[in-house]
């Protein structure tokens, strides 16, 4: 935290930190790293699905932001700008990972700690209540697996829309798409995830005939 002489220490504003960084004060950039690291990590984790990739995304986002800082020129909020960089890099990282995984023959899915997922946990549990389901490891594992099966654009759309509460236009900007197409991407992601959760009783009934007369 930077402070001015003779005052109580007040946090430096984003725009001033950017200005100082551009003027050659590299430590001023640390203020921004401190301020936005966790924020980016949450986004990156939900997009990539694992801590290792999420940490890499955060580092890379700050590096890219630093390199392009002169282009940023204070036109928007630094947080929003670096967030978009992180979202874009997450998409790159997912695509890169998909390519790597496709090259590898063994399709075994692993837990975050490297151990193999127990296939039993993916079996439906007809007696599960919504409360139990919401916190159960079975559901979490299945949801995680279903998220991994989304395309990078679908995953970005659902993460930014649902968890981050972003506007459709904001998501469209990251996906380099238009609003209607982006809305459809969100709907598609929701439909895929719900379908993947059909083995669980509380979600099974989703395949009702839509569009019929009531």
């Amino acid at each position: 935290m930077l402070s001015t002489a003779g005052t109580e220490s007040l946090a430096v504003s984003d725009s001033l930190a950017v200005e100082r960084t551009l003027a050659g004060d590299r430590d001023a950039y640390r203020v921004l790293v401190d301020r936005y690291s966790l924020y980016l990590y949450r986004l990156a984790y939900r997009m990539t699905g694992n801590s290792h990739d999420a940490e890499e995304v955060v580092q890379e986002a700050f590096l890219r932001a630093y390199q392009k800082l002169s282009q940023f020129a204070g036109n928007s909020n630094f947080g929003t700008w670096v967030y978009r960089i992180a979202a874009n890099y997450s998409i790159d990282r997912i695509r890169q990972r998909n390519v790597e995984e496709a090259r590898q023959a063994a399709p075994t899915r692993l837990n975050e700690d490297g151990s193999e997922l127990d296939p039993v946990v993916l079996v439906k549990d007809p007696s599960a209540s919504p409360e139990r389901l919401a916190s159960s490891s079975e559901l979490a594992a299945k949801m995680k697996e279903a998220l991994d099966d989304l395309t990078p654009a679908e995953r970005t759309a659902i993460v930014m829309r649902h968890w981050e509460g972003c506007a459709i236009e904001e998501i469209a900007a990251v996906l380099k798409s238009n609003s209607n197409a982006t809305k459809n991407t969100v709907f598609r992601a929701v439909a895929k995830l719900r379908k993947a959760l059909e083995p669980f009783s509380e979600f099974r009934d989703t395949a009702r005939a839509m569009g019929t007369e009531s």
């Binding site: 790293v33 690291s37 939900r46 204070g74 979490a140 995830l193």
Partner: protein, 263 residues
């Protein structure tokens, strides 16, 4: 009416306003759509329940130590100084005042004698400074007044001062320029007032967008402690008098500011 589609239910849940009344009416009457909406809510609740592991308290430090060796040294380019928005604004404001003074002088003057020309040049310069600094002090006074008179609401944890902060940032550049000019001209009263104003503007400009009531009170105390508002008003009043009275030109070598300092 047809049952609502999944897309319509999601849009309704997201607060979509188009056709909302119709959908609300339908949902009131249609048990099947109500159940579908409930299932959708369960789905999103399950999505919410997916945990994000804590990366650790020193996560930001880890990120910094990892990237800092890879950050290239940024060399400040001299033109960056001029391309910063607040500086562009300050220069534009000064250029506008100078242009205005030029045209006022051009269209109001008759053919001057050489002595008169020298005196008029001094007067024009004085007039420019009076108008520009008067405007600057007026805007500074407004920010300080707003901050001095504001009070946090009961129980308010954070106060947003982003608008004042941005305005203070803009004024800071102007303040430096005017202070230097006043000091160069030997206008001690103006130079010292601007000198005292500068750290206060700097404090406000350097504050985060949102500050705690305690931080806010510290700023208010600083404004009150220096009596800066009173000093600004004194200088401002003096500038008005200088702008309003057509004093005879001072003796050679004695600028109006020097006269004032003597007084």
């Amino acid at each position: 009416m047809n049952h609502m589609t999944e897309e319509q239910l999601i849009a309704y849940r997201d607060g979509e306003t188009r056709g909302r009344e119709n959908f609300a009416n339908h949902l009131n009457d249609c048990m099947e759509c109500q159940h579908e909406l409930a299932r959708l809510n369960t789905f999103f609740a399950a999505l919410d329940a997916l945990p994000v592991p804590d990366p650790g308290q020193n996560f930001a430090d880890r990120v910094w130590h990892s990237i800092s060796p890879r950050l290239e040294e940024k060399r400040a380019r001299w033109w960056n100084v001029f391309l910063q928005p607040q500086r562009i604004l300050a220069f534009a404001a000064m250029a506008a005042v100078i242009a205005l003074a030029f045209f006022v002088g051009r269209y109001t003057k008759t053919t001057p004698s050489p002595d008169q020309t020298a005196l008029d040049t001094g007067k024009t310069r004085e007039r420019i400074l009076v108008v520009a600094v008067g405007n600057h002090l007026g805007r500074s006074e407004m920010i300080l007044m707003e901050l001095a008179n504001a009070e946090p609401r009961k129980g308010q944890k954070l106060m947003n001062i982003s608008a004042e902060q941005k305005r203070a940032e803009d004024l800071l550049e102007e303040n430096r320029l005017y202070r230097q000019t006043a000091a160069r001209d030997g206008d001690k009263l103006m130079a010292s007032t601007l000198d005292e104003l500068e750290p206060i503007l700097l404090d406000i400009a350097n504050s985060p967008d949102e500050i705690t009531p305690a931080q806010f009170e510290a700023i208010q105390k600083r404004i009150a402690a220096k009596g800066i508002l009173l000093k600004i008003r004194v200088v401002d009043q003096d500038l008005r008098e200088r702008a309003g009275t057509a004093k005879p030109a001072p003796a050679q070598g004695d600028t109006p500011s020097k006269e004032r300092n003597k007084a």
